[in-house]
Protein backbone atom coordinates (compact mmCIF):
# COMPACT_ATOMS: atom_id res chain seq x y z
CA UNK A 1 0.00 0.00 0.00
CA UNK A 2 1.20 3.50 -0.79
CA UNK A 3 0.30 6.45 1.43
CA UNK A 4 0.81 10.01 0.21
CA UNK A 5 1.52 12.80 2.65
CA UNK A 6 0.11 15.93 1.03
CA UNK A 7 -0.39 19.54 2.03
CA UNK A 8 0.51 23.14 1.32
CA UNK A 9 4.11 24.24 1.77
CA UNK A 10 5.22 24.89 5.32
CA UNK A 11 2.49 23.00 7.20
CA UNK A 12 4.82 20.52 8.89
CA UNK A 13 4.51 17.66 6.42
CA UNK A 14 8.14 16.69 6.71
CA UNK A 15 7.89 16.72 10.52
CA UNK A 16 4.81 14.45 10.39
CA UNK A 17 6.71 12.24 7.97
CA UNK A 18 9.64 11.75 10.32
CA UNK A 19 7.23 11.15 13.20
CA UNK A 20 5.36 8.48 11.24
CA UNK A 21 8.38 6.66 9.87
CA UNK A 22 11.11 7.44 12.36
CA UNK A 23 13.24 8.28 9.32
CA UNK A 24 15.16 11.49 9.58
CA UNK A 25 13.94 13.99 7.05
CA UNK A 26 14.93 17.61 6.81
CA UNK A 27 11.92 19.77 7.70
CA UNK A 28 11.93 23.56 7.54
CA UNK A 29 9.79 26.60 8.12
CA UNK A 30 9.81 28.08 4.64
CA UNK A 31 7.96 27.14 1.49
CA UNK A 32 9.51 24.63 -0.83
CA UNK A 33 11.91 22.54 1.24
CA UNK A 34 10.77 19.25 -0.17
CA UNK A 35 11.70 19.71 -3.79
CA UNK A 36 12.52 16.08 -4.17
CA UNK A 37 10.07 13.65 -2.59
CA UNK A 38 11.13 11.34 0.18
CA UNK A 39 9.99 7.79 0.85
CA UNK A 40 9.79 5.91 4.09
CA UNK A 41 8.04 2.92 5.57
CA UNK A 42 5.30 2.82 8.10
CA UNK A 43 4.07 -0.11 10.18
CA UNK A 44 0.29 -0.47 10.15
CA UNK A 45 -0.57 -3.45 12.33
CA UNK A 46 0.87 -6.42 10.49
CA UNK A 47 1.30 -4.59 7.23
CA UNK A 48 4.10 -2.29 6.11
CA UNK A 49 2.99 0.62 3.98
CA UNK A 50 5.10 2.93 1.85
CA UNK A 51 4.87 6.57 2.88
CA UNK A 52 5.74 9.34 0.43
CA UNK A 53 6.38 12.93 1.45
CA UNK A 54 4.96 14.82 -1.53
CA UNK A 55 6.29 18.35 -2.28
CA UNK A 56 4.07 21.07 -0.89
CA UNK A 57 1.30 22.46 -3.12
CA UNK A 58 -1.35 25.09 -2.50
CA UNK A 59 -3.61 23.72 -5.21
CA UNK A 60 -3.86 20.88 -7.67
CA UNK A 61 -3.35 23.42 -10.46
CA UNK A 62 0.45 23.56 -10.48
CA UNK A 63 2.38 26.84 -10.75
CA UNK A 64 5.94 25.51 -10.39
CA UNK A 65 7.84 22.26 -10.80
CA UNK A 66 7.62 21.26 -7.16
CA UNK A 67 3.82 21.52 -7.42
CA UNK A 68 3.78 19.65 -10.72
CA UNK A 69 5.47 16.72 -9.03
CA UNK A 70 2.81 16.80 -6.32
CA UNK A 71 -0.06 16.68 -8.80
CA UNK A 72 1.49 13.89 -10.86
CA UNK A 73 1.87 11.81 -7.73
CA UNK A 74 -1.79 11.89 -6.66
CA UNK A 75 -2.69 9.09 -9.08
CA UNK A 76 -0.02 6.82 -7.70
CA UNK A 77 -1.23 6.78 -4.11
CA UNK A 78 -3.75 4.48 -2.43
CA UNK A 79 -4.42 6.64 0.60
CA UNK A 80 -3.84 10.36 1.18
CA UNK A 81 -2.87 11.91 4.50
CA UNK A 82 -3.67 15.58 4.04
CA UNK A 83 -1.67 17.71 6.47
CA UNK A 84 -3.41 20.98 7.26
CA UNK A 85 -2.06 23.98 9.20
CA UNK A 86 -4.62 24.67 11.94
CA UNK A 87 -3.43 28.27 12.28
CA UNK A 88 -4.31 28.79 8.64
CA UNK A 89 -7.27 26.46 8.14
CA UNK A 90 -9.20 28.45 5.59
CA UNK A 91 -6.39 28.64 3.03
CA UNK A 92 -5.44 25.02 3.57
CA UNK A 93 -8.98 23.71 3.02
CA UNK A 94 -8.78 24.61 -0.66
CA UNK A 95 -6.35 21.79 -1.32
CA UNK A 96 -8.31 19.52 1.04
CA UNK A 97 -11.50 20.00 -0.94
CA UNK A 98 -9.69 19.50 -4.23
CA UNK A 99 -8.15 16.30 -2.92
CA UNK A 100 -11.59 15.08 -1.83
CA UNK A 101 -12.73 15.40 -5.45
CA UNK A 102 -10.10 12.86 -6.57
CA UNK A 103 -12.02 10.08 -4.83
CA UNK A 104 -8.96 8.77 -2.99
CA UNK A 105 -9.46 7.57 0.60
CA UNK A 106 -8.15 10.27 2.89
CA UNK A 107 -7.53 11.38 6.47
CA UNK A 108 -6.80 14.94 7.57
CA UNK A 109 -4.08 15.79 10.10
CA UNK A 110 -4.93 19.12 11.71
CA UNK A 111 -1.34 20.06 12.46
CA UNK A 112 0.10 22.89 14.63
CA UNK A 113 -2.91 22.43 16.83
CA UNK A 114 -1.13 23.77 19.90
CA UNK A 115 -0.06 26.92 18.09
CA UNK A 116 -3.61 27.54 16.87
CA UNK A 117 -4.91 27.39 20.46
CA UNK A 118 -2.17 29.79 21.51
CA UNK A 119 -3.36 32.25 18.85
CA UNK A 120 -6.93 31.98 20.08
CA UNK A 121 -8.07 29.88 17.13
CA UNK A 122 -10.56 27.24 18.23
CA UNK A 123 -11.46 24.55 15.72
CA UNK A 124 -14.11 21.92 16.33
CA UNK A 125 -12.36 18.89 14.85
CA UNK A 126 -15.37 16.60 15.20
CA UNK A 127 -17.55 19.08 13.39
CA UNK A 128 -14.97 19.44 10.62
CA UNK A 129 -14.92 15.66 10.35
CA UNK A 130 -18.68 15.69 9.74
CA UNK A 131 -18.37 18.35 7.05
CA UNK A 132 -15.59 16.58 5.19
CA UNK A 133 -16.73 13.00 5.75
CA UNK A 134 -13.16 11.86 6.49
CA UNK A 135 -11.32 11.42 9.82
CA UNK A 136 -9.80 14.66 11.17
CA UNK A 137 -7.06 14.28 13.78
CA UNK A 138 -5.51 17.23 15.65
CA UNK A 139 -1.73 16.81 15.74
CA UNK A 140 1.39 18.59 16.84
CA UNK A 141 4.18 17.05 14.81
CA UNK A 142 6.92 18.84 16.71
CA UNK A 143 5.98 17.35 20.08
CA UNK A 144 4.49 14.19 18.57
CA UNK A 145 1.07 14.73 20.08
CA UNK A 146 -1.76 13.16 18.10
CA UNK A 147 0.57 11.24 15.79
CA UNK A 148 -0.38 7.97 17.47
CA UNK A 149 -4.09 8.51 16.84
CA UNK A 150 -3.26 9.56 13.28
CA UNK A 151 -1.63 6.15 12.74
CA UNK A 152 -4.51 4.37 14.47
CA UNK A 153 -7.13 6.06 12.34
CA UNK A 154 -5.39 5.54 9.00
CA UNK A 155 -7.55 2.45 8.51
CA UNK A 156 -10.67 4.63 8.66
CA UNK A 157 -9.50 6.62 5.62
CA UNK A 158 -12.54 7.49 3.56
CA UNK A 159 -13.39 9.01 0.20
CA UNK A 160 -15.72 11.38 1.98
CA UNK A 161 -19.03 12.61 0.65
CA UNK A 162 -18.23 16.23 0.01
CA UNK A 163 -18.67 16.83 -3.71
CA UNK A 164 -18.33 20.34 -5.03
CA UNK A 165 -17.54 21.88 -8.43
CA UNK A 166 -14.44 24.06 -8.47
CA UNK A 167 -16.39 27.35 -8.90
CA UNK A 168 -18.12 26.75 -5.59
CA UNK A 169 -15.14 25.60 -3.53
CA UNK A 170 -14.50 28.93 -1.83
CA UNK A 171 -18.15 29.43 -0.96
CA UNK A 172 -18.21 25.98 0.54
CA UNK A 173 -15.05 26.66 2.52
CA UNK A 174 -16.64 29.84 3.83
CA UNK A 175 -19.61 27.86 5.14
CA UNK A 176 -17.40 25.26 6.78
CA UNK A 177 -15.17 27.85 8.45
CA UNK A 178 -18.21 29.73 9.73
CA UNK A 179 -19.34 26.55 11.40
CA UNK A 180 -16.18 24.97 12.80
CA UNK A 181 -13.78 27.82 13.54
CA UNK A 182 -14.03 30.40 16.27
CA UNK A 183 -11.35 33.05 16.68
CA UNK A 184 -10.83 34.98 19.91
CA UNK A 185 -9.11 38.31 19.58
CA UNK A 186 -5.65 38.38 21.09
CA UNK A 187 -3.42 41.39 21.49
CA UNK A 188 -0.52 41.50 19.03
CA UNK A 189 2.22 39.43 20.56
CA UNK A 190 5.90 40.25 20.61
CA UNK A 191 6.38 37.89 17.70
CA UNK A 192 3.85 39.78 15.60
CA UNK A 193 5.50 43.09 16.37
CA UNK A 194 8.84 41.56 15.39
CA UNK A 195 7.25 40.17 12.26
CA UNK A 196 6.17 43.67 11.21
CA UNK A 197 9.56 45.16 11.98
CA UNK A 198 11.44 42.62 9.87
CA UNK A 199 9.46 43.46 6.72
CA UNK A 200 9.44 47.19 7.42
CA UNK A 201 10.93 49.02 4.39
CA UNK A 202 13.56 50.85 6.45
CA UNK A 203 14.09 48.82 9.63
CA UNK A 204 13.81 45.51 7.76
CA UNK A 205 16.94 45.82 5.58
CA UNK A 206 18.89 47.05 8.60
CA UNK A 207 17.87 43.98 10.60
CA UNK A 208 18.65 41.77 7.59
CA UNK A 209 22.17 43.12 7.25
CA UNK A 210 22.72 42.67 10.96
CA UNK A 211 21.42 39.09 10.83
CA UNK A 212 23.58 38.19 7.82
CA UNK A 213 26.66 39.86 9.24
CA UNK A 214 26.28 38.16 12.62
CA UNK A 215 25.66 34.82 10.90
CA UNK A 216 28.80 35.17 8.79
CA UNK A 217 30.83 36.30 11.79
CA UNK A 218 29.55 33.40 13.87
CA UNK A 219 30.31 30.80 11.19
CA UNK A 220 33.84 32.01 10.45
CA UNK A 221 34.91 32.54 14.05
CA UNK A 222 33.24 29.57 15.68
CA UNK A 223 34.45 27.41 12.80
CA UNK A 224 38.05 28.50 13.26
CA UNK A 225 37.82 28.15 17.01
CA UNK A 226 36.53 24.60 16.69
CA UNK A 227 39.31 23.69 14.27
CA UNK A 228 42.10 25.14 16.41
CA UNK A 229 40.83 24.07 19.83
CA UNK A 230 38.94 20.85 19.22
CA UNK A 231 39.61 19.15 15.92
CA UNK A 232 43.34 19.75 15.47
CA UNK A 233 44.28 18.70 19.01
CA UNK A 234 42.01 15.66 18.69
CA UNK A 235 43.70 14.62 15.46
CA UNK A 236 47.14 15.21 16.90
CA UNK A 237 46.37 13.16 19.96
CA UNK A 238 44.41 10.27 18.54
CA UNK A 239 45.18 9.91 14.87
CA UNK A 240 48.65 11.22 14.15
CA UNK A 241 50.45 8.47 16.15
CA UNK A 242 48.57 5.89 14.10
CA UNK A 243 49.67 7.44 10.81
CA UNK A 244 53.26 7.75 12.07
CA UNK A 245 53.23 4.05 12.88
CA UNK A 246 51.79 3.14 9.45
CA UNK A 247 54.32 5.39 7.75
CA UNK A 248 57.20 3.68 9.55
CA UNK A 249 55.77 0.25 8.77
CA UNK A 250 55.67 1.15 5.07
CA UNK A 251 59.28 2.28 5.18
CA UNK A 252 58.54 5.95 4.67
CA UNK A 253 58.42 5.86 0.88
CA UNK A 254 57.08 4.06 -2.20
CA UNK A 255 53.81 4.22 -4.09
CA UNK A 256 51.59 2.71 -1.37
CA UNK A 257 53.11 5.05 1.18
CA UNK A 258 52.43 7.90 -1.21
CA UNK A 259 48.77 6.96 -1.57
CA UNK A 260 48.07 6.29 2.11
CA UNK A 261 50.34 8.73 3.91
CA UNK A 262 51.56 11.04 1.15
CA UNK A 263 54.81 12.96 1.12
CA UNK A 264 56.79 13.50 4.28
CA UNK A 265 57.53 17.16 4.75
CA UNK A 266 60.92 17.68 6.39
CA UNK A 267 60.79 14.04 7.38
CA UNK A 268 57.46 14.36 9.16
CA UNK A 269 53.81 13.84 8.41
CA UNK A 270 51.96 17.08 7.80
CA UNK A 271 48.21 16.51 8.10
CA UNK A 272 47.39 19.46 5.88
CA UNK A 273 50.05 19.11 3.20
CA UNK A 274 51.16 15.48 2.96
CA UNK A 275 48.24 14.60 0.70
CA UNK A 276 47.73 10.96 1.55
CA UNK A 277 44.35 9.28 1.98
CA UNK A 278 44.86 8.68 5.70
CA UNK A 279 46.41 12.07 6.39
CA UNK A 280 45.11 15.01 4.35
CA UNK A 281 42.25 12.92 2.91
CA UNK A 282 40.71 12.56 6.36
CA UNK A 283 42.04 15.72 7.95
CA UNK A 284 40.59 18.18 5.41
CA UNK A 285 36.98 16.99 5.44
CA UNK A 286 36.74 16.09 9.13
CA UNK A 287 38.96 18.55 10.95
CA UNK A 288 38.83 21.58 8.66
CA UNK A 289 35.51 21.48 6.82
CA UNK A 290 33.14 19.73 9.20
CA UNK A 291 33.35 22.45 11.90
CA UNK A 292 32.35 25.05 9.29
CA UNK A 293 29.58 22.83 7.95
CA UNK A 294 28.30 22.45 11.50
CA UNK A 295 28.29 26.20 12.18
CA UNK A 296 26.74 27.05 8.83
CA UNK A 297 23.91 24.53 9.04
CA UNK A 298 23.26 25.47 12.64
CA UNK A 299 22.66 29.09 11.61
CA UNK A 300 20.77 28.23 8.41
CA UNK A 301 18.52 25.74 10.20
CA UNK A 302 17.87 28.28 12.94
CA UNK A 303 16.87 30.95 10.40
CA UNK A 304 14.70 28.42 8.57
CA UNK A 305 12.93 27.18 11.69
CA UNK A 306 12.27 30.66 13.01
CA UNK A 307 10.74 31.55 9.63
CA UNK A 308 13.12 34.34 8.65
CA UNK A 309 13.97 33.30 5.09
CA UNK A 310 10.67 34.27 3.37
CA UNK A 311 11.04 37.73 4.94
CA UNK A 312 14.57 37.99 3.62
CA UNK A 313 13.11 37.07 0.23
CA UNK A 314 10.65 39.96 0.46
CA UNK A 315 13.36 42.46 1.41
CA UNK A 316 15.73 41.45 -1.37
CA UNK A 317 12.98 41.14 -4.01
CA UNK A 318 13.65 44.52 -5.64
CA UNK A 319 17.35 43.76 -6.11
CA UNK A 320 16.62 40.26 -7.37
CA UNK A 321 14.24 41.62 -10.01
CA UNK A 322 17.13 43.61 -11.45
CA UNK A 323 18.80 40.23 -11.88
CA UNK A 324 15.84 38.57 -13.57
CA UNK A 325 14.80 36.73 -10.43
CA UNK A 326 12.38 37.31 -7.61
CA UNK A 327 13.06 37.41 -3.89
CA UNK A 328 12.53 33.73 -3.17
CA UNK A 329 15.59 32.90 -5.29
CA UNK A 330 17.52 33.79 -2.16
CA UNK A 331 16.65 30.27 -0.95
CA UNK A 332 18.74 28.40 -3.58
CA UNK A 333 21.55 30.93 -3.02
CA UNK A 334 21.60 30.42 0.76
CA UNK A 335 21.41 26.65 0.44
CA UNK A 336 24.21 26.86 -2.15
CA UNK A 337 26.47 28.42 0.46
CA UNK A 338 26.26 25.14 2.33
CA UNK A 339 26.65 22.96 -0.74
CA UNK A 340 25.89 23.81 -4.37
CA UNK A 341 24.02 20.54 -4.90
CA UNK A 342 20.95 21.25 -2.72
CA UNK A 343 21.24 24.88 -3.84
CA UNK A 344 20.81 23.90 -7.47
CA UNK A 345 17.97 21.55 -6.61
CA UNK A 346 16.09 24.24 -4.73
CA UNK A 347 15.86 26.10 -8.07
CA UNK A 348 12.72 24.03 -8.58
CA UNK A 349 10.69 26.42 -6.47
CA UNK A 350 11.11 28.96 -9.30
CA UNK A 351 8.44 29.13 -11.94
CA UNK A 352 10.05 29.88 -15.29
CA UNK A 353 12.92 28.41 -17.26
CA UNK A 354 14.65 31.79 -17.41
CA UNK A 355 14.63 32.10 -13.64
CA UNK A 356 15.93 28.59 -13.14
CA UNK A 357 18.75 29.17 -15.62
CA UNK A 358 19.81 32.43 -14.02
CA UNK A 359 19.56 31.09 -10.47
CA UNK A 360 21.47 27.87 -11.18
CA UNK A 361 24.16 29.62 -13.19
CA UNK A 362 24.63 32.14 -10.38
CA UNK A 363 24.80 29.43 -7.72
CA UNK A 364 27.38 27.43 -9.63
CA UNK A 365 29.53 30.40 -10.63
CA UNK A 366 29.37 32.90 -7.79
CA UNK A 367 28.35 30.97 -4.68
CA UNK A 368 31.23 29.17 -2.94
CA UNK A 369 30.20 26.16 -0.89
CA UNK A 370 31.06 25.94 2.80
CA UNK A 371 33.79 23.34 2.14
CA UNK A 372 35.48 25.79 -0.18
CA UNK A 373 34.94 28.75 2.16
CA UNK A 374 36.50 26.77 5.00
CA UNK A 375 39.61 26.08 2.92
CA UNK A 376 39.89 29.61 1.57
CA UNK A 377 39.49 31.01 5.09
CA UNK A 378 42.31 28.75 6.27
CA UNK A 379 44.51 29.72 3.36
CA UNK A 380 43.97 33.49 3.41
CA UNK A 381 43.14 33.86 7.09
CA UNK A 382 46.81 34.18 8.06
CA UNK A 383 47.21 37.23 5.83
CA UNK A 384 44.47 39.06 7.73
CA UNK A 385 40.87 39.80 6.84
CA UNK A 386 41.69 41.84 3.71
CA UNK A 387 42.33 38.86 1.45
CA UNK A 388 39.09 37.17 2.47
CA UNK A 389 37.18 40.41 2.07
CA UNK A 390 38.55 40.90 -1.47
CA UNK A 391 37.50 37.36 -2.44
CA UNK A 392 33.97 37.75 -1.11
CA UNK A 393 33.47 41.28 -2.44
CA UNK A 394 34.61 40.15 -5.89
CA UNK A 395 32.13 37.28 -5.83
CA UNK A 396 29.31 39.51 -4.56
CA UNK A 397 29.89 42.14 -7.25
CA UNK A 398 30.14 39.41 -9.87
CA UNK A 399 26.90 37.86 -8.59
CA UNK A 400 24.99 41.10 -9.13
CA UNK A 401 26.72 42.01 -12.42
CA UNK A 402 26.25 38.57 -13.92
CA UNK A 403 22.62 38.45 -12.84
CA UNK A 404 21.93 41.87 -14.35
CA UNK A 405 23.55 40.91 -17.66
CA UNK A 406 21.79 37.57 -17.88
CA UNK A 407 18.49 39.31 -17.30
CA UNK A 408 19.32 41.64 -20.17
CA UNK A 409 20.35 38.92 -22.62
CA UNK A 410 17.87 36.18 -21.84
CA UNK A 411 14.34 36.05 -23.15
CA UNK A 412 11.50 35.00 -20.95
CA UNK A 413 9.57 36.25 -18.02
CA UNK A 414 10.18 36.73 -14.36
CA UNK A 415 6.96 36.44 -12.42
CA UNK A 416 6.38 38.54 -9.33
CA UNK A 417 6.82 37.19 -5.86
CA UNK A 418 3.79 35.77 -4.08
CA UNK A 419 4.68 34.17 -0.81
CA UNK A 420 3.07 33.20 2.43
CA UNK A 421 4.87 34.76 5.40
CA UNK A 422 4.61 32.23 8.21
CA UNK A 423 4.45 33.53 11.77
CA UNK A 424 7.74 33.44 13.68
CA UNK A 425 8.11 30.21 15.53
CA UNK A 426 10.45 29.36 18.36
CA UNK A 427 12.77 26.65 17.10
CA UNK A 428 12.17 23.27 18.62
CA UNK A 429 15.67 22.38 19.80
CA UNK A 430 15.36 18.67 19.43
CA UNK A 431 14.39 18.84 15.78
CA UNK A 432 16.97 21.57 15.15
CA UNK A 433 19.75 19.37 16.51
CA UNK A 434 18.46 16.46 14.46
CA UNK A 435 18.36 18.58 11.33
CA UNK A 436 21.92 19.86 11.75
CA UNK A 437 23.07 16.31 12.50
CA UNK A 438 21.35 14.97 9.35
CA UNK A 439 22.90 17.66 7.18
CA UNK A 440 26.36 17.00 8.60
CA UNK A 441 25.90 13.28 8.06
CA UNK A 442 24.81 14.07 4.52
CA UNK A 443 28.03 16.00 3.97
CA UNK A 444 30.23 13.21 5.32
CA UNK A 445 28.41 10.61 3.23
CA UNK A 446 28.28 12.62 0.00
CA UNK A 447 31.56 14.50 0.16
CA UNK A 448 34.05 12.23 1.93
CA UNK A 449 34.28 9.67 -0.91
CA UNK A 450 34.88 12.48 -3.43
CA UNK A 451 37.54 14.07 -1.23
CA UNK A 452 39.33 10.73 -0.86
CA UNK A 453 39.05 10.14 -4.60
CA UNK A 454 40.42 13.63 -5.22
CA UNK A 455 43.41 13.08 -2.93
CA UNK A 456 44.08 9.71 -4.54
CA UNK A 457 43.90 11.28 -7.98
CA UNK A 458 46.38 13.97 -6.97
CA UNK A 459 48.93 11.35 -5.90
CA UNK A 460 48.33 9.35 -9.06
CA UNK A 461 48.61 12.32 -11.42
CA UNK A 462 51.83 13.48 -9.77
CA UNK A 463 53.34 10.00 -9.73
CA UNK A 464 52.53 9.46 -13.39
CA UNK A 465 53.97 12.86 -14.26
CA UNK A 466 50.73 14.02 -15.88
CA UNK A 467 50.54 17.16 -13.77
CA UNK A 468 54.09 18.13 -14.83
CA UNK A 469 53.05 17.66 -18.44
CA UNK A 470 49.96 19.83 -18.05
CA UNK A 471 51.98 22.37 -16.10
CA UNK A 472 54.19 22.92 -19.12
CA UNK A 473 51.26 23.02 -21.54
CA UNK A 474 49.19 25.54 -19.61
CA UNK A 475 51.85 27.61 -17.90
CA UNK A 476 51.79 30.36 -20.56
CA UNK A 477 48.01 30.75 -20.18
CA UNK A 478 47.74 30.87 -16.38
CA UNK A 479 50.89 32.94 -16.11
CA UNK A 480 49.97 35.60 -18.64
CA UNK A 481 46.30 35.88 -17.74
CA UNK A 482 46.12 35.19 -14.04
CA UNK A 483 49.71 35.73 -12.90
CA UNK A 484 49.82 32.25 -11.42
CA UNK A 485 52.70 29.77 -11.61
CA UNK A 486 52.31 26.66 -13.75
CA UNK A 487 52.04 24.56 -10.61
CA UNK A 488 48.55 26.04 -10.07
CA UNK A 489 47.29 24.00 -13.01
CA UNK A 490 47.17 20.86 -10.85
CA UNK A 491 44.69 22.36 -8.36
CA UNK A 492 42.59 23.72 -11.24
CA UNK A 493 42.30 20.21 -12.66
CA UNK A 494 41.43 18.64 -9.31
CA UNK A 495 38.85 21.41 -8.88
CA UNK A 496 36.70 19.63 -11.45
CA UNK A 497 36.23 16.95 -8.83
CA UNK A 498 36.34 18.74 -5.47
CA UNK A 499 36.96 22.42 -4.84
CA UNK A 500 38.07 21.97 -1.24
CA UNK A 501 40.83 19.55 -2.20
CA UNK A 502 41.88 21.94 -4.95
CA UNK A 503 42.16 24.86 -2.53
CA UNK A 504 44.11 22.58 -0.19
CA UNK A 505 46.59 21.92 -2.98
CA UNK A 506 47.36 25.63 -3.22
CA UNK A 507 48.83 25.69 0.29
CA UNK A 508 52.25 24.13 -0.45
CA UNK A 509 52.77 26.17 -3.64
CA UNK A 510 54.14 29.19 -1.82
CA UNK A 511 51.86 31.69 -3.53
CA UNK A 512 51.80 35.34 -2.50
CA UNK A 513 48.61 37.03 -1.30
CA UNK A 514 47.65 38.32 -4.75
CA UNK A 515 48.08 34.89 -6.28
CA UNK A 516 46.11 33.24 -3.46
CA UNK A 517 43.23 35.68 -3.93
CA UNK A 518 43.16 35.22 -7.70
CA UNK A 519 43.46 31.43 -7.43
CA UNK A 520 40.68 31.25 -4.80
CA UNK A 521 38.32 33.36 -6.90
CA UNK A 522 39.09 31.40 -10.07
CA UNK A 523 38.46 28.13 -8.26
CA UNK A 524 35.04 29.34 -7.14
CA UNK A 525 34.01 30.54 -10.59
CA UNK A 526 35.50 28.36 -13.27
CA UNK A 527 33.61 25.13 -13.00
CA UNK A 528 31.24 23.51 -10.51
CA UNK A 529 32.48 20.36 -8.79
CA UNK A 530 31.51 17.02 -10.33
CA UNK A 531 28.47 16.47 -8.08
CA UNK A 532 27.04 19.92 -8.86
CA UNK A 533 27.72 19.43 -12.54
CA UNK A 534 25.58 16.28 -12.58
CA UNK A 535 22.73 18.10 -10.83
CA UNK A 536 22.99 21.03 -13.26
CA UNK A 537 22.70 18.57 -16.13
CA UNK A 538 19.60 16.99 -14.60
CA UNK A 539 17.94 20.31 -13.79
CA UNK A 540 18.83 22.33 -16.88
CA UNK A 541 19.23 19.80 -19.68
CA UNK A 542 22.23 19.55 -21.98
CA UNK A 543 21.61 22.73 -23.99
CA UNK A 544 21.30 25.07 -21.05
CA UNK A 545 24.18 23.33 -19.31
CA UNK A 546 26.43 24.04 -22.30
CA UNK A 547 25.25 27.64 -22.26
CA UNK A 548 26.01 27.93 -18.55
CA UNK A 549 29.46 26.39 -19.12
CA UNK A 550 30.11 28.95 -21.86
CA UNK A 551 29.22 31.74 -19.45
CA UNK A 552 31.62 30.22 -16.91
CA UNK A 553 34.56 30.15 -19.32
CA UNK A 554 34.04 33.75 -20.38
CA UNK A 555 33.54 34.94 -16.80
CA UNK A 556 36.56 33.15 -15.37
CA UNK A 557 38.82 34.55 -18.08
CA UNK A 558 37.57 38.10 -17.67
CA UNK A 559 37.42 38.13 -13.87
CA UNK A 560 40.70 36.26 -13.38
CA UNK A 561 42.59 38.57 -15.73
CA UNK A 562 40.93 41.71 -14.42
CA UNK A 563 41.38 40.85 -10.76
CA UNK A 564 45.04 40.00 -11.29
CA UNK A 565 45.63 43.32 -13.06
CA UNK A 566 43.72 45.32 -10.42
CA UNK A 567 45.54 43.70 -7.52
CA UNK A 568 48.88 44.39 -9.21
CA UNK A 569 47.92 48.04 -9.55
CA UNK A 570 46.89 48.01 -5.87
CA UNK A 571 50.43 46.86 -5.15
CA UNK A 572 49.77 43.33 -3.91
Amino acid sequence: MRILLMGSPNVGKSAIFSRLTGTHVVASNYPGTTVEFTRGHLKMGEETAELIDVPGAYTLEPTNRAEEVAVEMVDEGDVIVNVVDATNLERNLYLTLQLLQTGKPMVVALNMWDEALEHGINIDAEDLEKHLGVPVIPTCAISGEGVKSLTDRLEEADQGDLKVVSEDIWQRIGEIIEDVQHIEYRHPTFRQVLSHATVHPLIGPFIAMLVLFLSFFFVIHTGEWLIGNVMEPAFELAWEPVTVWISAALGGEGFIHGVLIGDLIEGEIDMENSFGLLTTGLFIPIAVILPFIFCFYFILSLLEDIGYLPRLGVLIDTLMHRMGLHGLSIVPMMLGLGCNVPGAMAGRILETRKERFIALTLVSICVPCMAQIAMVAGLLGDAGITGLAVVFMTLLILWVALGVSMKYFLKGETPEILVDIPPYRLPYWKSLVKKVYMRMKGFVREALPYVLLGVFLVQLLYTLGIIALLDRAFTPVVQTLFGLPGTAVGPLIVGFLRKDVAVGMLAPLGLNTRQLIVASVILVIYFPCAATFVVLFKELGIRDLLKASGVMIVVVTVVGTGLNALLRIAGL
Partner: protein, 78 residues
Protein backbone atom coordinates in the same frame (compact mmCIF):
# COMPACT_ATOMS: atom_id res chain seq x y z
CA UNK B 1 -14.20 54.18 -2.28
CA UNK B 2 -12.54 51.60 -4.48
CA UNK B 3 -8.80 51.17 -4.81
CA UNK B 4 -6.47 48.42 -5.74
CA UNK B 5 -4.30 46.77 -3.14
CA UNK B 6 -1.16 48.59 -4.29
CA UNK B 7 -2.85 51.94 -3.67
CA UNK B 8 -4.03 51.04 -0.19
CA UNK B 9 -2.36 53.26 2.40
CA UNK B 10 -0.26 51.93 5.22
CA UNK B 11 -2.45 50.57 7.97
CA UNK B 12 -5.51 51.08 5.79
CA UNK B 13 -7.81 48.13 5.29
CA UNK B 14 -10.40 47.18 2.75
CA UNK B 15 -12.75 44.48 1.61
CA UNK B 16 -11.69 42.47 -1.40
CA UNK B 17 -14.27 42.91 -4.17
CA UNK B 18 -12.62 41.21 -7.12
CA UNK B 19 -9.60 40.62 -9.30
CA UNK B 20 -8.39 42.44 -12.37
CA UNK B 21 -6.56 39.41 -13.66
CA UNK B 22 -6.75 36.19 -15.56
CA UNK B 23 -8.15 32.98 -14.26
CA UNK B 24 -4.81 31.52 -13.16
CA UNK B 25 -3.76 34.58 -11.19
CA UNK B 26 -7.13 34.82 -9.42
CA UNK B 27 -6.77 31.20 -8.42
CA UNK B 28 -3.37 31.86 -6.92
CA UNK B 29 -4.75 34.80 -4.97
CA UNK B 30 -7.58 32.65 -3.72
CA UNK B 31 -5.29 29.84 -2.71
CA UNK B 32 -3.41 32.34 -0.54
CA UNK B 33 -6.69 33.22 1.18
CA UNK B 34 -7.27 36.46 -0.71
CA UNK B 35 -10.80 36.35 -2.07
CA UNK B 36 -13.93 38.50 -2.38
CA UNK B 37 -15.48 39.36 0.94
CA UNK B 38 -12.21 39.13 2.89
CA UNK B 39 -10.93 42.05 4.94
CA UNK B 40 -7.39 42.83 3.91
CA UNK B 41 -4.93 45.33 5.34
CA UNK B 42 -1.55 46.57 4.24
CA UNK B 43 1.27 45.80 6.61
CA UNK B 44 4.17 47.35 4.72
CA UNK B 45 5.62 47.85 1.30
CA UNK B 46 9.25 47.87 0.23
CA UNK B 47 10.86 50.93 -1.31
CA UNK B 48 11.38 51.43 -5.04
CA UNK B 49 8.32 49.51 -6.17
CA UNK B 50 9.16 46.45 -4.10
CA UNK B 51 6.67 43.92 -2.83
CA UNK B 52 3.69 44.72 -0.62
CA UNK B 53 2.98 42.74 2.54
CA UNK B 54 -0.68 42.34 3.36
CA UNK B 55 -2.56 40.65 6.14
CA UNK B 56 -5.71 38.57 5.79
CA UNK B 57 -7.22 36.73 8.77
CA UNK B 58 -4.11 37.53 10.80
CA UNK B 59 -1.89 35.81 8.25
CA UNK B 60 0.65 37.68 6.17
CA UNK B 61 1.30 37.36 2.46
CA UNK B 62 3.82 39.25 0.36
CA UNK B 63 3.29 39.97 -3.33
CA UNK B 64 4.81 42.05 -6.11
CA UNK B 65 3.41 45.55 -6.71
CA UNK B 66 2.00 44.51 -10.09
CA UNK B 67 0.12 41.65 -8.54
CA UNK B 68 -1.21 43.84 -5.76
CA UNK B 69 -2.57 46.22 -8.40
CA UNK B 70 -4.79 43.41 -9.67
CA UNK B 71 -6.67 43.05 -6.41
CA UNK B 72 -9.63 45.43 -6.17
CA UNK B 73 -10.69 46.50 -2.71
CA UNK B 74 -13.36 48.69 -1.17
CA UNK B 75 -11.69 50.90 1.40
CA UNK B 76 -13.21 50.61 4.85
CA UNK B 77 -13.77 53.65 7.02
CA UNK B 78 -11.76 53.41 10.18
Amino acid sequence: MCKNLAELGKGESGEVIGFDSGHMASRRFQSMGIRPGKIISRVSSQLMGGPVTVSVDGRQTAMGRGMAAKVKVKVLNQ
